[in-house]
């Protein structure tokens, strides 16, 4: 019996007999392994950025939209139910809604902001001072819009860093400047600290003004809000706050919770939905990569079959001088395993390298499990794909193999 090391040396010598072919076969495995790692990294990276952006929407918040989420309600009575100041007042009642910390009405619109010839298209959010804390916005300079601004319908505005850098020259102080939003002028009173752009949207391309001013100047007077942002007192009581909000709105609109013409979404459920869909996305990418790894495996098997056929005579010689079935089997199995193992190692290196680059706006995050997974699969691929050819080689009768031309 040849030693394991002897077998390995023999296998490497066998592989060396046709470098180009071996390298191309390895390339198949390499691409398979690298794509497993890169695609899983993209999946992980994008799901992390989605999670981050949802977390930055604010924790412990509920968003109330107009419209029913369930289509199967007894929808014959279509109510003209809107979110208005009455809703805000009702929800702010701490007796009925003890777990609600704040309620911010939200009016949104998109405008082109201009200043001194510079222009920038941004979304403007009309709300109250509580909106900033509920959405985790902080003011880095100046002040936030205040309760008094809302009451006075003052055209003042807090702008995000993207808006500020687009409109103002570097070094210039935007505070106190008048910027043009559509046909109206707003005075910049505060700069929002950067929240970063995370996946879904650039959260710094935003401007926040009192909702009263936005209604006056931009959207036109209207009794309804596009949504209400409700901040709960704590994450533990968020579901309590949710049912309180639902029952308050139901009684206010003279209906039941089941027929509520509003949709209440809490950020945690949004997060779990997004997480599960990004997991599906990652799994899908993983399957795509698995297919390319399978193609690599077929390449290994193909080459091993060719090798066995080419070296039939050599197998005959080896058997004639005393190699047993198991030795021949081991030799060819080691050859295919070495090919796929080397392909796998280089694939891991390539995958790690590629994962350092931003791909399609997603920063890939290496999933720690993907490296042992890809390498393990690559080695199994070598063993499985090599087994049939190796078995064929080992089963050759020496006289037939020796006669083979």
């Amino acid at each position: 019996m040849a030693t394991a090391f002897g077998n390995l040396v023999m296998a490497i010598r066998g592989i060396g007999s046709n470098w180009l072919r071996t390298l191309l076969t390895m390339l198949g495995v390499l691409i398979g392994v690298a794509s497993v790692i890169v695609l899983l990294a993209i999946g992980t990276g994008s799901s992390q950025s989605i999670e981050k952006s949802i977390e930055s929407l604010g924790s412990n918040t509920l968003t109330v939209f107009s419209g029913s989420s369930s289509g199967s309600t007894t929808g014959t009575k279509i109510r003209n139910s809107t979110l208005n100041t009455a809703s805000v007042t009702a929800l702010s009642n701490s007796f009925n809604d003890p777990d609600v910390k704040s309620v911010s009405p939200v009016v949104t619109t998109s405008v082109t902001a201009t200043y001194n010839g510079a222009s920038y298209s941004t979304s403007v959010i009309g709300s109250t001072a509580s909106y900033l804390s509920a959405e985790n916005y902080t003011v880095s300079a100046g002040r936030s819009i205040s309760r008094a601004d809302v009451a006075e319908r003052a055209p003042v505005i807090d702008i995000g860093t993207s808006v500020a850098s687009a409109l103002f020259a570097t070094g210039a102080d935007p505070l106190g400047k008048q910027i043009q939003l559509g046909s109206s002028e707003f005075t910049v009173v505060g700069l929002l600290a950067s929240k970063g752009s995370s996946g879904l949207s650039n959260q710094d391309a935003v401007a926040i003004a009192p909702y009263t001013a936005v209604q006056d100047q931009l959207t036109g007077e209207s009794a309804s809000f596009s949504e209400l942002l409700v901040q709960g007192k704590s994450s533990a009581t968020l579901s309590l706050a949710e049912s309180e909000v639902e029952s308050t709105l139901a009684s206010l609109n003279d209906t039941t919770v089941a027929n509520l013409p509003f949709t209440v979404i809490d950020s945690a459920s949004l997060l779990s939905t997004a997480t599960s869909s990004s997991q599906t996305f990652t799994a899908l990418l993983g399957w795509v990569a698995a297919v390319s790894l399978l193609v690599g495996a077929i390449g290994v098997m193909n080459i091993m079959l060719v090798t066995v056929t080419e070296r039939t005579r050599e197998i005959g010689i080896r058997k004639a001088i005393g190699a047993r079935r198991r030795v021949i089997l081991t030799q060819f199995l080691i050859e295919s395993t070495v090919i796929s193992f080397l392909g796998g190692i280089f694939g891991v290196l390539a995958g790690i390298l590629v994962s350092h680059f931003k791909i399609d706006g997603v920063t890939p995050v290496l999933a720690s499990y993907s490296i042992p997974l890809a390498l393990g699969v690559a080695i199994s691929v070598g063993i499985v794909a090599g087994f049939y050819p190796a078995h064929r080689a080992a089963s050759l009768r020496p006289i037939d193999a020796l006669r083979y031309e």
Binding site: I317, G322, L402
Partner: protein, 271 residues
């Protein structure tokens, strides 16, 4: 029928040899093939004894069954019926693993087409059977060097077979056959691919191996090559038609290789 009741030899007996018994004892060997549904008899009952230290040439035209006989003697194939004892071991009942072991330990093959493994150096080729029998790397390297020096290729150790002439390749094959210290050297048309000069060199190598007491069975169809043997067996249509000793000095001597140039002193103990 002494042979008949012998059971499978245990492993240690496979390795050991029984000096009292002939190296080859064939009794009523028949080999038939099914060719397109028709049974073809390649060998029709051959009985043959080859004693220790003999140099036997098996002659015959193509189709005489000499290759089939060589496969059976070399344990590459098993007879359809009959009994074969090689160096005291009954071959009849052995399985694939045991046959591999017998080939490895007891037989040194020299083929017509040299059958070295390409892209492996001379010394690696010689080491291979020892690797299969589990000889330690240092020991097999030493023995391979000795064997190659003895066939006059001490300066060609790391040459690949593509870099060696036919005669040199065949001498590497002989070194490979010798290094396991086999009971039998089985040569199948060893000069078939060689020119007359290399053939003569090779035959004088075989002669000196014979002189050292090696048992050699050589298949050939060339009378002048058979002339080197101490006995010539002629096959025709699967049967022995002639079996007679001869004086090996009848051989045409080219006198190219000084006698004594090739010598196999005790090539070490079997590992």
């Amino acid at each position: 029928m002494i042979i008949r009741d012998e059971v499978d030899a245990p492993d240690d007996e496979v390795i050991g040899s029984r000096a009292a018994e002939p190296i080859i004892a064939l009794k009523g060997i028949v080999k038939s093939y099914a060719m397109g549904g028709v049974e073809v008899l390649a060998i029709r009952g051959i009985s043959l004894i080859v004693e220790r230290g003999e140099f036997v040439a098996i002659m015959g035209t193509s189709g005489s069954g000499k290759s089939t006989l060589m496969n059976i003697v070399g344990c590459l194939d098993v007879p359809t019926s009959g009994h074969y004892r090689l160096d005291g071991v009954n071959i009849r009942h052995l399985d694939d693993v045991a046959l591999s072991r017998i080939r490895n330990k007891k037989i040194g093959f020299v083929f017509q087409g040299f059958n070295l493994i390409p892209r492996m150096s001379a010394i690696h080729n010689v080491e291979l059977p020892m690797a299969y029998s589990g000889v330690k790397p240092a020991e097999r390297r030493k023995r391979a060097v000795v064997a190659l020096e003895m066939v006059g290729l001490g300066d060609r150790l790391s040459h690949f077979s593509s870099e060696l002439s036919g005669g040199q390749q065949q001498r590497v094959a002989i070194a490979r056959a010798m290094c396991t210290n086999p009971s039998l050297i089985l040569a199948d048309e060893p000069t078939g691919n060689l020119d007359s000069r290399s053939s003569a060199e090779l035959m004088s190598l075989f002669t000196s191996l014979h002189d050292q007491g090696r048992t050699i069975v050589m298949i050939t169809h060339e009378p002048d090559i058979a002339a080197y043997a101490s006995r010539v067996v002629v096959l025709r249509d699967g049967e022995i038609v002639s079996n007679r000793p001869q004086d090996a000095s009848n051989a045409v001597s080219y006198e190219l290789a000084p006698s004594g140039r090739y010598s196999f002193g005790g090539s070490g103990d079997e590992g």
